[in-house]
């Protein structure tokens, strides 16, 4: 039991970061590609701007997730940005 607990404790944060990077990063990129629609651009241009920017945002998010000191901080960063983008994405959908 203790061994299992130890295992979870030692690999848990890493797995948490990997999930944050793969899925959290994609979710953030997807969210930003919708939030862009709130900009004063014509719809096709806004959609394309969102797509073009999304991969850089995704890559940036992955770097952030592995650059910060803890998994908790990694998630916190993603969530803060997501919360800031949510109202924008909400306003256009």
């Amino acid at each position: 039991m203790n061994a299992v607990l130890h295992r979870v404790r030692s690999t848990g944060p890493l797995i948490s970061r990997i999930i944050a990077a793969l899925f959290g990063g994609y979710a953030l990129a997807a969210l930003s590609s919708v939030a862009v629609l709130a900009l004063p651009l014509s719809k096709p241009q806004a959609v394309l701007t969102g797509m073009l920017a999304s991969f850089l945002i995704y890559a940036g998010a992955v770097i952030w997730v592995f650059a910060v000191r803890s998994a908790l901080k990694a998630w916190a960063g993603l969530i803060i940005v997501a919360v800031a983008l949510l109202p924008l994405a909400w306003s256009v959908s």
């Binding site: 030692s10 690999t11 890493l14 970061r17 990129a29 997807a30 969210l31 590609s33 919708v34 862009v36 629609l37 651009l41 014509s42 719809k43 096709p44 241009q45 806004a46 959609v47 394309l48 701007t49 969102g50 797509m51 073009l52 999304s54 991969f55 850089l56 995704y58 890559a59 992955v62 770097i63 592995f66 650059a67 994405a89 256009v92 959908s93």
Partner: protein
């Protein structure tokens, strides 16, 4: 992140606490390794795809080269007539006209048959001189490497494209984390040391990466851009609710004319030649790319004539739209919105089709360094770990797996790609499903190289496969001379440059593989010096520590 078998050379910095460069180094190592083999295959097939049109010409040797580009207007009319006869009920066809790099026209059409199980479209290469389907061996040509590059094979196209996208995303992360890891990347570049085993692999990897860094970043990012609507559909889905709205976006991306409602009234297509003639006046005699028709033969027909790729670095649509029945010019589309133009430029940068011969060769060479960057990175993973193996004679499973996969995916791919070209020359032309056989041969040989890598000692497998690739490449011009009417001496006299350069390229690459094979073999012969290198290890570790 470096649990267990992490990057051992950085022990000191690990003890001193993990800085950002350390975590970036781990991210770089693992992100790159996980999809490294796929990335290597994407890089190499992508690199040769810069010459896919030339490769296609070489793979259809029955089709004589065009000594000059035929008048595109005349060719377009010829093929349009032929399509009117052979596929009269089609709702849509598209002709890619012959140009400086293509000696045949490529045609794509929708089939009228709506039966399930039947292909919804047909395609073929057409002879500009006769307007009829070319009588050449059935092959996908250079198009095979091009398609494999972003959608692979033996799997649904969409899966392949998602896999390619995931690999590209990992690559993007690997590039950024690689730059952060190598703080002194430019200093490293000037302190290249040959022949110092691990250190020289690292240096080679760094040099290849730094040399082409802007290109590698550009090519990876723009690769994602080419399929971005697939990867990031969310903004599009939110912004456009109906198909009609969605067409606003499609119009920004391609010369696509929506298929309207057929009137049922049969009216033959007006002169396609005149339409292309008008486009030639606008963009230049040889600078028309495609003629697309919807509902040809119906009163509601529309024709779009699109601009060629020369003379501008953008793939954004530029075209003239004509009324099919009368030939009247309806509209000239010569610009799109700023974001769409940006996307068009990125797309064009990735494909490099705007290039003249010199730029194309530069694209090829820098892409080749990208391929080598991925290859050296993969090899380095094992080189770094080999000297720290607890039992050098019986490495752990993960190590052996990476080692063997490296052999098959690097040396084995060279063998398989060359085998594909051998298949093109050896499979008899009348064979049923010949184009698919060429492709199956490619994968069969690739699988054999994996099998070979699994059963042979690692170094022998490297050496044998590299020699195999070298011999196959070296003999390819000989095979070409024996099986076609276009041997080297003939091509030289005729000025048949595609065939000349292809033969010379084969020999150049044969030489490259031979050099690699000999270097690898020499390393094995010099086994005692490995122990010496081990004794020097602390020094190299220290210097790599400094250089990061």
């Amino acid at each position: 992140m470096t649990k267990g078998r992490g990057v051992k050379i950085d022990d000191d910095s690990q003890a001193a606490g993990r800085g950002i460069r350390q975590s970036m180094s781990s991210l770089h190592t693992w992100a790159a390794l996980l999809l490294g083999w796929i990335l290597y295959a994407m890089f190499l097939t992508g690199t040769v795809s810069y010459f896919k049109d030339e490769l296609s010409q070489w793979m259809r040797p029955e089709l004589s080269r065009l000594s000059e580009i035929p008048d595109q207007a005349v060719v377009a009319q010829r093929i349009a007539n032929e399509l009117g006869n052979t596929v009269p009920g089609t709702t849509q066809w598209s002709i890619r006209l012959p140009d400086a790099r293509n000696n045949s026209a490529y045609v794509f059409w929708r089939t009228s048959a709506r039966n399930p199980g039947q292909r919804a479209f047909g395609e073929g290469n057409f002879d500009p001189a006769t307007g009829q389907k070319v009588a050449s061996r059935d092959t996908l040509g250079g198009e095979f490497f091009f398609r494999f590059h972003f959608q692979f094979h033996y799997m649904p196209v969409v899966w392949g494209r998602w896999l390619a996208g995931a690999a590209a995303m990992f690559m993007l992360v690997a590039i950024i984390s690689g730059v952060i890891t190598h703080k002194r990347i430019f200093v490293d570049f000037f302190t290249f040391r040959w022949g110092k085993r691990q250190r020289s692999w690292l240096d080679a990897h760094n040099a290849l990466s730094v040399f082409g860094l802007p290109f590698h970043f550009m090519i990876t990012y723009t690769g994602l851009v080419t399929l971005m609507a697939l990867y990031m559909p969310w903004g599009e889905n939110v912004a456009f609710k109906t198909p009609a709205e969605r067409q606003q976006l499609t119009a920004e991306l391609s010369a696509f004319i929506p298929v309207g409602k057929a009137t049922g009234q049969k009216v033959p297509l007006a002169s396609v030649e005149d339409m292309v003639r008008q486009a030639q006046e606008r963009w230049g005699r040889d600078n028309v790319a495609r003629v697309n028709a919807v509902l040809p033969g119906d009163a509601a027909a529309r024709v779009a004539v699109t601009r060629g790729e020369a003379g501008r670095v953008s793939m954004s649509p530029q075209y003239m739209e004509f009324e099919g029945a009368t030939g009247k010019l309806l509209a000239v589309r010569d610009h799109v919105g700023p974001a769409a133009e940006t996307r068009g430029v990125f797309y064009a940068l990735h494909l490099g089709r705007f290039s003249d011969a010199v730029t194309r060769w530069l694209y090829f060479l820098v892409s080749f360094t990208g391929t080598a960057m991925v290859g050296t990175g993969l090899v380095m993973w094992t080189v770094k770990r080999r000297k720290n193996l607890p039992e050098p004679d019986r490495p752990y499973f993960g190590f052996r797996l990476v080692e063997r996969l490296n052999i098959a995916s690097i040396a084995g791919l060279s063998v398989a790609m060359t085998a594909f070209l051998w298949g093109n020359r050896l499979l008899p032309p009348p064979l049923e499903g010949r184009a698919d056989l060429e492709i199956n041969l490619f994968f069969f040989v690739w699988a054999l190289t994996l099998l070979h890598a699994l059963v042979r000692p690692a170094r022998s497998a490297w050496v044998e496969q590299l020699w195999m690739a070298s011999v196959l490449l070296f003999l390819l011009p000989v095979l070409n001379a024996l099986t076609t009417q276009r041997p080297l001496w003939h091509s030289l006299v005729e000025g048949d440059w595609i065939f000349v350069v292809m033969d010379l390229m084969c020999w150049t690459l044969a030489l490259l593989h031979a050099v690699l094979a000999m270097r690898t073999a020499r390393q094995r012969a010099g086994a005692p010096s490995r122990r010496k290198a081990n004794r020097q290890a602390p020094i190299t570790v220290a210097s790599s520590e400094r250089a990061g």
